[in-house]
Amino acid sequence: MTDWNDLPDEMRRLGLDEVTLDRLLAGRIGPDDAPPGYSEVARVLSAAAAAGEHEELVHEAAHVALAMELVKQPSPASTPSDGRSRKMRSRSRRVKVGGLVVVGALVGSTGLAAAGVLPDAAQDAFSMVFERVGITVPASDDHPASSGEELSGIATTTDATGMDKGAEISSAASGGMSQAGQHGSAVAGTSVERVEGAGAARVPVPNEGGTGTADTASDGASEEGTSIADEKSEGRSGSGSGNASDASSALAVAPDPPVAQVP
């Protein structure tokens, strides 16, 4: 191949028209119907295509995970800092849209590969293909835990605790695709540590030391203001603050926090 315009000529020289080639690749041409010299190729492609016939095993969660991996992929046009950024961003957006189109098309065997349910050789081959293009797919010896019983076994036998335990279970359930617990950090005292298995905290968690911080930063003016507010409100300000503090602790451990009841 030397130039874009040479492609049709080259394909003619290769001896297969495009329709025949597409049917061969789809496994729709048997050895007896294949063009001269391609009967064994048709046999190989038909056998390989059989790997995609396990559609009842499609795993929705794996599709979503694969879709997210695809959309997350950095586009070839990384964000530049010079004046051409609008044009480049436009191209980047097109690449993202292209990624979404790809995601829409990945309802066949590629999703099965992500779910780790193809025959071993096909699974390994797909893992290799996707690894080369930057997507992690489990290999044949890396099947995700498929049953609640299996996950329960991990949960009850692992020595890990807290965030590590959650990450281990999540990783087993997703065949290693989960990144839970890999980005976590205790940013709000003990509050984050109470959420077992959580990775990065996506929302700010209330800080128990907020009053002290404000007081230090304001050279004592905050504490004085608090006292005045409490005095003027006949104690209601202090009560409300206590309720809010209780509620902020609950936010860190409960998915649906209770509403703080302020009098």
Binding site: L16, E40, V41, L45, A48, A50, P119, M128
Partner: protein
């Protein structure tokens, strides 16, 4: 323990799986990585040329040429060495 697959026939499934493994191994060992990627995505993934092109980061025309060359190479290898399963 071998579980029955889509057809419900364990023996048929086992033979089919062996055939699949043989075919996929032949494709990955005989072709260049680029050719194998394109053929596997098209054959097993059942993806069209444009989709494969997006995944591997090439133009659709390049993908067509890669798949043509891949099949020609497979044909040459299978004719030269004979098919043994």
């Amino acid at each position: 323990l071998i579980q029955a697959g889509p057809t419900g026939n364990v023996e048929e499934e086992a033979l089919s799986s062996l055939g699949t493994d043989w075919a996929v191994n032949l494709i990955t060992s005989s072709l260049s990585p680029e050719q194998a990627d394109v053929v596997l995505l098209r054959v097993i993934g059942d993806l069209d040329v444009d989709t494969v092109a997006r995944i591997v980061g090439k133009r659709p025309g390049n993908v067509r040429v890669l798949q043509h060359r891949a099949l020609r190479r497979l044909a040459r290898i299978l004719q030269r060495e004979g098919v043994t399963r």
